[in-house]
């Protein structure tokens, strides 16, 4: 097996999972051995400022969230293209940089459109 950088990452992943699970397991062990769990209809009900919860929390949300998610997605994808450009930037010509600028401006145009439409204003 070659010395792979991902091996360390995987080890860290396993370590982190263990780090998370260990105390939870320990807490469960403690609960089993000393402090018994005592669930109850009231105790395990949803908390709502001391009242009984009415209605479901899983309801339909405002589409405004979705608009932001779309814009975010677009810019996330844009970042994917920007990153290699940025890394290569020191070796690039002005022309290439301008090409990127055009790419950027296209997206900025979308942003400005959204701005103009009042989409970026949280309702």
């Amino acid at each position: 097996m070659p010395d792979h950088p991902w091996r360390t990452v995987i080890a860290l992943l396993i370590g982190a999972v263990a780090f998370g699970i260990a105390p939870l397991a320990l807490a469960r062990l403690w609960a089993m051995y000393f402090s018994p769990k005592k669930p109850g209809p009231n105790k395990n009900a949803i908390y709502e400022c001391g009242l009984e919860s009415k209605g479901d929390a899983w309801i339909q949300f405002d589409p405004a969230y979705y608009l932001y998610a779309i814009i975010f997605l677009i810019f996330d994808v844009e970042a994917i293209f920007l990153l290699p450009f940025a890394v290569a930037f020191t070796g690039l010509t002005l022309g290439a940089a301008i090409a990127m600028l055009v790419f950027l401006l296209l997206l900025v145009e979308g942003l400005i459109w959204a701005w103009q439409k009042g989409l970026l204003t949280w309702a």
Binding site: G50, K54, G55, I59, A123
Partner: protein
């Protein structure tokens, strides 16, 4: 005729209260997302006690808000009707538990009106000093709580309470208790202030402006504060008057109505002080009213401490125990830090008041909470509520 009027109570008759039912109109509008019903309170970090608001949310926007009271309804009125006139005083302490002194004053003023009792001059001065100290600490605390509601992790509140403790020390030194002073009596005050106390008070009043300055440096011009409060929870002037809103909240809408000036009760006509007025009636104005009133309170305190005469502090003719006013009724009101605090007493000639009623500014200032909050976000509701300055002890009594 009047039946028709009643039928039209929802707003067709233009002479009637104009804005009622705005919430229902909003709700009818077709919403795409679902309405989330949340109850904020009675246990909630920023309902200032056990207040509850049944809120309907569209996304983050409030489309309906119904205040629910009574979680601190302690039957103050019933208890006072079963006790003597004197026994009601310690209970008034617990109405607006941040301002026991002004509550005392409101009640004693009503009893004095009912029974025709006069108050010695020195006692009047002491009352003014106590009331303005109370006003100062109440406003400082309120501003702190308001900022706390805005999420300022306690720092302004801590500074406010730092000063409040100093004022409470004074209260304790003269009355024996920090909060529940039980200090005023009809016909005067319970005990006289010592010269040392006067000295300490003068020293404290000397440093209080420093606190206001510090507060202003901390928050004046803070962009987040301004953005959070300006244009939020706007209360139109006409509605404020019609809904009986009083106190700094009313003055933030620009209505010049300060009972200290209007009724000139006590000896308030002897002091020079200004009444700050707002323009927009939003949360920022309400906040600034408090800050400016703190400065005015300091000015009144300075004058009162300078001019206070020597003399008795209790009208010797007044019978504290077993007071039996003539049958009749009286309404006495003062400008408490929160607004018009009124006491309505009916005497039937016995030792107990026949009817004892507290006109609490907090409850009535809450009438228009829904109107101020509709269309705003939950965060605004919290801030708007914070700027109303309620104390549940007084709302529910």
């Amino acid at each position: 005729m009047s039946r028709d009027l009643m039928m039209d109570a929802t707003g067709n008759d233009e002479r009637l209260a104009p804005t009622y039912g705005a919430g229902q109109h909003r709700l009818k509008a077709e919403r795409e997302s679902q309405i989330l019903e949340v109850s904020i309170g009675p246990q909630h970090p920023s309902t200032h006690g056990v207040f509850r608001m049944d809120v309907k949310l569209d996304g983050e926007r409030v489309v309906q808000l119904k205040p629910v009271f009574g979680y601190l309804h302690r039957n103050h009125e019933k208890i006072a009707e079963n006790g003597s006139y004197l026994a009601a005083i310690p209970y008034t302490d617990r109405l607006d538990y941040l301002c026991s002194m002004t509550n005392n004053w409101g009640y004693t003023l009503a009893v004095e009106t009912l029974a025709g009792i006069t108050v010695p001059e020195r006692a009047e001065y002491i009352r003014v000093i106590m009331a303005e100290l109370t006003r100062f600490q109440n406003h400082a605390g309120l501003v702190g709580f308001l900022l706390q509601d805005m999420g300022a992790s306690g720092t302004p509140l801590m500074y406010a309470f730092r000063e409040r403790e100093k004022i409470l020390d004074l209260f304790e030194a003269v009355s024996g208790a920090r909060m529940m002073c039980n200090y005023l009596r009809f016909g005067g005050v319970r005990v006289d202030c010592t010269p040392e106390w006067m000295k300490e008070t003068r020293e404290l009043v000397g440093v209080l402006p420093r606190f206001v300055d510090e507060f202003e440096r901390l928050l004046r011009g803070n962009e987040i504060l301004m953005a959070r409060t300006q244009g939020v929870g706007v209360l139109p002037r006409e509605l404020a008057v019609n809904a009986g809103v009083t106190g700094p909240m009313l003055r933030a809408t620009g209505v010049n109505y300060d009972i200290r000036k209007v009724d000139r009760y006590g000896i308030y006509d002897r002091f020079k002080f200004r009444v700050p007025l707002g323009e927009h009636g939003d949360v920022y104005d309400r906040y600034m009213m408090r800050v400016l009133e703190m400065r005015e309170s300091i000015s009144i305190l300075e004058q009162a401490l300078k001019e206070i005469p020597e003399g008795p502090v209790q009208d010797p003719k007044t019978k504290l125990r077993g007071l039996r006013p003539k049958a009749g009724e009286a309404y006495g009101r003062i400008e408490s830090p929160k607004g018009e605090l009124g006491f309505y007493l009916i005497s039937d000639g016995t030792m107990n008041p026949y009817r004892y009623r507290v006109r609490s500014p907090c409850l009535i200032n809450l009438t228009i909470l829904e109107d101020m909050c509709l269309g705003q976000s939950v965060a605004d509701v919290v801030v708007t509520l914070g700027s109303v300055d309620i104390v549940m002890g007084e709302v529910d009594r």
